[in-house]
Subunit: 230 residues, 2 copies
């Protein structure tokens, strides 16, 4: 999975050049990364070759109309929010049709601030969704639900237990987690053998994380473990 982007990337498709640039400028002042395309085909090419977080599509476009473009985009990515820009002249029933494939739509002429506001809502939502159970650990990214530990495009697949253990440590980064707590939460009992098994897992995690020397899993003798990033 991709690392957390600094700027959200917006695909803006608008054939009216001057309007397009007005919107683009406004968005960029709000720390959005905008790719402006002037027709549907160019837009789709851009979408195929670059990652985006959200699309703003005019309905009336040269070469490939916004609705068809949206379908093609959706065939690649079902989740990406799509906002349509519609002309005022558009008939109601047609708008209803569009609504189905759209996450939102705005009727021209619209207030750019209003559009920005709605975009922010979608971005906030998707950040929230993708951030759940996602931990940053030095040079690593740890995706708990997917059981993946990423480092410089290398993916290490973890087992459920490895992932659960790493998560428990990450949740309490820089704090000592008691052996007893780990054992009861993940192993379900805290006898001698479970304890030794856990030590084996700690050893494995250390090996997986050894590419970043800033990361340490420190043992507190007789107490537990702490994960630390210098």
């Amino acid at each position: 999975m991709k690392p957390i982007p600094t700027k959200a990337r917006i695909l803006l498709v608008e054939d009216d050049t001057s309007l397009g640039y007005v919107i683009k400028d406004n968005f960029e002042q709000d720390q959005l990364d905008v790719c402006l395309c002037e027709d549907g085909e160019l837009a789709f090419q851009a979408f195929e070759t670059n990652p985006f977080d959200l699309c703003v599509l005019d309905i009336m476009l040269p070469k490939l109309d916004g609705f068809t473009l949206a379908q093609k985009i959706r065939s690649i990515n079902k989740d990406i929010p799509i906002i349509f820009l519609t002309a005022k002249s558009m008939k109601e029933d047609k708008i209803n049709g569009f609504q189905i494939g759209a996450d939102d739509y705005m009727v021209k002429p619209f207030n750019i601030e209003e559009l920005l506001l709605r975009i922010k809502v979608f971005l906030k939502r998707s950040v929230k969704e993708s951030m759940t159970d996602f931990y940053k650990l030095g040079a690593y990214n740890f995706n708990h639900p997917n059981l993946e530990l990423l480092h410089a495009d290398q993916i290490k697949h973890l087992t459920q237990k490895e992932a659960d253990l790493l998560k428990l440590l990450c949740e309490q980064q820089d704090k000592v987690v008691k052996r007893e707590e780990i054992l009861t939460k993940i192993w379900g009992n805290d006898d001698y053998f479970a304890g030794r098994s856990m030590d084996v897992f700690i050893s494995k995690l250390r090996k997986y994380l050894s590419h970043d020397l800033q990361i340490e899993i420190i043992n507190y003798h007789g107490i537990g473990f702490k994960i630390k990033v210098n």
Copy 2:
């Protein structure tokens, strides 16, 4: 929110007659077609003989409880959204159990407007899904409603189950889909044999998709599967 084109048909199962009628009236004012049943057996008979778009089930029901009813409904239609109504007294862990088979649940006493809103979300989603039920998978195009998997002008016809499984994986591309989820949604139960049957289907899909080496269906031991396009 705008009404959905044709009237959506709701199966409402609630043994508290007065509450049932209140809900029914509210729904009907919102252009929903409601069939109210007072016990689980009647509800199942109704489901067998009439088409529905969504079910709202009370958990505590005479003759056949909501959970069992949901399983029976699922054995006929895996896709239909099911919303449970639970009493406040129900324990958390039990609710978690229900969540597996449920798409949503509401705790009594609840706001009917809220319930209506959630129903609308499901109905809208299913309309949206049926319109965007096409997936691009590396060099393949997958048309779920037509059960077709296309590759360089070659058409491979899939069976319903093959297509449903592939769809479930595609909907959550790059995410691990739990065995349990696949089994409850597509097989309707998650015993040992259903699991083995699923493994056979995974094997088949891998064979169908083997012309594009970029596509992988990865097993997460004991957890589930993930489809990935490099």
